[in-house]
Amino acid sequence: MKNITNSFEYFSPKTLEEALKLVSQFDKEGKDFKVVAGGQSINLVMKQGVIAPEAVISIKGLSDMDYVKFDEKAGLKIGALATHRAIERSSVVEKKFGVLAEMEHNLSSVETRNWGTVAGNICHGDPGGDVAPVLIVLNANVKMAGVKGERTVPAEDFTLDFYETALAHDELVTEIQIPTVPPNTGVAYTKFSQVVGDFALASVAVAITLDSKKDICSDVRIGLGSVAATPLRAKKAEEILRGKKITDDLLAKAAQAAMDESDPTDSVDASGEYKRELVGVFVKRVGKEALERAKKA
């Protein structure tokens, strides 16, 4: 039986600078520490005894990082402390990035969404996280800062392995940047779970951009969740659709390719084989929905 409690030092910096100093210092000292924003993922694994850090740095006090901003040129900017609930209820998100709000609506419970942050969700590096597949198809970037400076990586490259991300120990994610959705683009997302709000057995996000005649697929991005060690971009499936007129047959071929690209494992709830089938079903369904939306866009 694992302990559910362990004692740890607790730090609550008030500025980004202060926070970055702390992580840099602890990293140099080789201290086992964790950064926590909303705490919805970390608390869970700490309770389960999966991790037992010596120190916890809460960045909840960096209140100027709690924002959701939009302008046509720069697109959407989500500060590190913006909660799921803030995204779900943002009018600009609803208008311009509706798929994000749809995703948030089925992310766990209202209580979790009130506390949990979008940035924290991706930093956790859970391949079953709800956020990543949608960010991938929206072509998002993740901005990180350290004492030495800032850098940005595409969302699709952010998760490296099971619970492992591109974020260095002495860095913090400061912002998620999502470019304005191009014209003639439809984006859709579905998470398949047994109970509403649960972790996905499989999730699929698809963004389709049509040419000006709304006929040919000029660009497409397909993101998969829960079916590999990381959230995945199904590039081979995209290749099948790109530059073509999307038909049911073509979608079925893309679905097959996405199934081949995914690499799900067995879990208590379902076999890997079944999860792979889900990828096929939902690439077709979500692809169709994205196509419909692109036609209406």
Binding site: M1, K2, N3, I4, T5, N6, S7, L44, Q48, S109, F192, Q194, V195, V196, G197, D198, F199, L201, V268, D269, A270, S271, Y274, E277, L278, V281
Partner: protein, 767 residues
């Protein structure tokens, strides 16, 4: 609605609602005492092993550790709930010779903080000799299987054979016979409040007080008396608010015994609180079982015979599992007339945490099999599933020879009302939707007395004070189901006052008369009768006094209503309740008015004095590509006698459907050689609010002569039909058949493909 009652039958908010909602109401979980220590268990990592040695020396060196106890420190012997059969009292506070499941407590520590207790647990060194384990009932009964309890050959813990009519003859006369096999999975209890107890032993007087999250203060008192070798009366059990029990808090569990033992050893209050993982891996659950069922019918759908055999996965101990074995048989026969019936049941020991009573106590898995089989038979015979049920329904006065008699019985009007309502409610189905039915019934408390109590099954005491306020004492347990509200409503109705006039003193063995606790849907009927009797005694005094003062003769009837006592036919002639109370106490030499009540069913058969019953219809939609089943809409027509609190009854029905849907769709406890693989709320999937279907509940009230004001069961019956109604809806939608509960999407998808294949083969064969 016109009613002769002024309190009962009216939707009434829970009397504990404000306290609980604001957080003022205290659960054991919230309590602490000055100088309190925290107890924690050292648990076995092996499913079956001999304990060679336990070395606590390192743990005792840790600052803050006040005591470590092992099986050798347990003064008492074994205990259990089947006290009439001592060999089935097989539980023990801390394992002394061997462990029988992963997580079984072998030692316990008491320390000044939770953290220190947790660290100390890791410092206790236990040496084991690992024994081979057995994890499936069919393996457990083999001759070469390891014995879990030495005295139980082939690991058979309990058996049941019940038979009436002539089953073989019934099958011979049948036009249609079919046999099916099922495996039903266990279901976890998952109460919001975990098992926890706070014990305080007074070394001076040798008396123990324990606050505990229990369904039955009396059962806990009995269990502790056996485990601690103490007199029942020297143990005071207090049950604060309880955050759910569902059957899993009837047994005396190690939270209570260990808190008590550690408090006795240290002389300080000790609290033991299980965490969620301990809840999943070391506390009781609904039994899993293998089942074979055979039915024989006449062409017109009349049931002639049924035979059912089950072998259950009992786990390491008995709990209330032997009772579940009995009820699993009996309630499978309801609400139908089955003239020839045979039931053979075996409960086996396995190296897992044990199975016990869980909401729907026994009935849930066997009703599933029976109701699912009935639909398969109906389909093959070309009979409508509701019609085949209508054909076989019990009627008032129906008797199952030697077992039970059903007095009030509204099932026929229930099914007729269902047939009518269905037409308006669901005139047309969408693609891949189906409707499934299941009938149901459940007891209003059990008549059997395996606990071997010499007391009446329920007791209550009413004290009316000079200002008309009432103190009501009973051990009856509100564990979240709302009995405290029902109790004061019944008392208020009988005395003709309001619920605000009553202060309830529930769940304390030192101040209140015995009640056997909240299990088997017994409190409304059994405790309700005791309360009605106690209040009735006081009422009689008031009525007699009023009649004397009015100078009326004996033929005139008086009633107590709305705080007045008056002539029923001349309401203007009477007195206020308060006036009469004051006069009666003055006449009584200043003694408050006391009424005592008790209830034990007599001449009501073996099972229960009364049965709640009804029929459920479920509309579900199937996703043929993913196998996801959506429970869309539920219609229930229900006879629970006179409804005492419609709000409470509705809450109970909805709660049952909720737990039933979990059983139907998502809840499963996969186990690998004794290890529970999903011991967290994250991994053990419980239906959430957003997954719940709409529930329409229609009442067909009856009056049961055994119930207080005619009331009977409302808390459990509707769990049993939920899973079969859902499975039948899926069967209706796409023909998929299931030999288990828990219709997870992957399982459903497989069944859909199987059904599609069979349909194709049949079509080919026709050509």
């Amino acid at each position: 609605m016109e009613t002769k009652y002024s309190v009962i039958g009216k939707p009434t908010g829970n009397v504990d609602g404000m306290a609980k909602t604001t957080g003022e109401g205290k659960y054991t979980f919230d309590m602490y005492l000055p100088n309190m220590l925290y107890g924690k268990h050292v648990r076995s990592p092996y499913p079956h092993a001999k304990i060679i040695s336990i070395d606590a020396s390192e743990a005792l060196k840790l600052p803050g550790v006040k005591a470590v106890i092992t099986g050798k420190d347990v003064p008492g012997g074994k205990w259990g709930l089947w006290r009439r059969f001592r060999e089935l009292c097989d539980q023990i506070a801390l394992a002394d010779d061997k462990v029988r499941f992963i997580g079984e407590p072998v030692a316990a520590v008491a320390a000044t903080t939770k953290d220190i207790a947790a660290k100390a647990v890791e410092l206790v060194k236990v040496e084991y000799e690992i024994l081979p384990g057995v994890f499936d009932p069919l393996e457990a009964i083999k001759d070469d299987a390891p014995l879990i309890h030495e005295d139980f050959e082939n690991n058979i813990n309990a058996t049941r054979h019940i038979e009436w009519g002539n089953v073989d003859e019934g099958f011979k006369q049948a036009d249609y016979v079919r046999e099916d096999k099922f495996t039903l999975f266990p279901q976890a209890v998952v109460s919001m409040e975990v098992h926890n107890s706070l014990a305080s032993y007074d070394k001076g007087t040798g008396k123990l007080t324990i606050w505990s999250s229990t369904q039955s203060p009396y059962y806990l008192q009995l269990g502790l008396a056996d485990a601690l070798k103490m007199r029942e009366g020297d143990i005071r059990v207090i049950k604060p608010h309880v955050g759910g029990g569902y059957g899993g808090k009837n047994s005396t569990m190690p939270d209570a015994t260990t808190a008590a033992l550690l408090s006795m050893k240290t002389g300080r209050p000790v609290k033991v609180v299980f965490n969620r993982e301990e809840e999943f891996t070391t506390t009781e659950h609904r039994m899993g079982l293998h089942l074979a069922i055979k039915i024989g019918l006449k062409k017109d759908g009349t049931i002639l015979a049924r035979e059912c055999k089950i072998i259950t996965d009992g786990g390491a101990y008995t709990g209330l599992g032997a009772t579940a074995l009995y009820l699993a048989g009996i309630f499978q026969t309801f609400p139908y007339k089955i003239p020839n019936w045979r039931y053979d049941a075996f409960r086996t020991y396995t190296n897992k945490v044990w199975a016990t009573s869980v909401r729907g106590f026994g009935a849930v898995p066997t009703v599933y099999a029976a109701e699912v089989q009935l639909d398969r038979a109906a389909k093959e015979m070309g009979i409508d599933p509701l019609a085949i049920r209508r054909k076989n329904l019990m009627e008032p006065g129906y008797e199952a020879p030697g077992q039970y008699k059903v007095e009030s019985c509204g099932i026929v009007p229930c099914v007729d009302k269902m047939a009518e309502r269905i037409k308006e409610k669901w005139p047309k189905l969408e693609k891949d939707e189906g409707i499934g039915y299941a009938g149901f019934a459940y007891m209003s408390g059990g008549i059997f007395n395996w606990i071997d109590t010499p007391y009446a099954y329920s007791g209550a005491r009413v004290q009316v004070n000079i200002d008309g306020s009432v103190d009501l004492f009973t051990q009856a347990a509100d564990i979240g189901q709302g009995h405290n509200t029902v109790a004061v409503m019944i008392c208020a109705e009988e005395l003709g006052i309001g619920i605000e006039d009553i202060r309830l003193h529930p769940g304390d063995t030192a101040t209140a008369p015995v009640d056997l606790g909240a299990w088997g849907s017994r409190e409304t009927l059994m405790n309700g009768n005791a309360i009605k009797m106690a209040a009735g005694q006081v009422k009689q005094k008031l009525v007699d006094l009023a009649r004397a003062k009015l100078g009326e003769n004996i033929a005139y009837d008086l009633v107590c209503r709305e705080k007045r006592i008056y002539l029923e036919l001349r309401p203007e002639r009477g007195y206020s309740y308060y006036e009469m109370v004051e006069a009666a106490i003055k006449l009584n030499d200043g003694e408050p008015l006391i009424g005592t009540g008790h209830y034990t069913p007599h001449n009501k058969g073996m099972i229960s004095p009364a049965y709640g019953m009804g029929i459920m219809a479920m509309k579900a939609k199937v996703d043929r590509e993913t196998g996801l089943v959506e429970a869309k809409d539920v219609l229930i027509v229900h006879d629970c006698g006179q409804v005492i609190n419609p709000l409470g009854a509705r809450g109970q029905v909805e709660g049952s459907v909720h737990m039933g849907l979990g059983y139907a769709l998502t809840e499963e406890m996969p186990n690998d050689n004794g290890l529970v693989l999903n011991p967290s709320i994250n991994d053990y999937k419980i239906i959430r609010q957003r997954d719940m279907p709409q529930i329409e509940l229609l009442d067909v009230p009856t009056y049961d002569p055994s119930g207080p004001f005619g009331a009977k069961e409302a808390a459990e019956a509707t769990i049993s039909p939920t899973a079969p109604a859902l499975a039948n809806a899926v069967f209706d939608a796409c023909g998929a058949e299931f030999d288990s509960n828990c219709l997870k999407p992957e399982r459903v998808l497989k069944a859909i493909r199987e059904a599609e294949k069979n349909q194709k083969n049949k079509a080919k064969a026709k050509k």
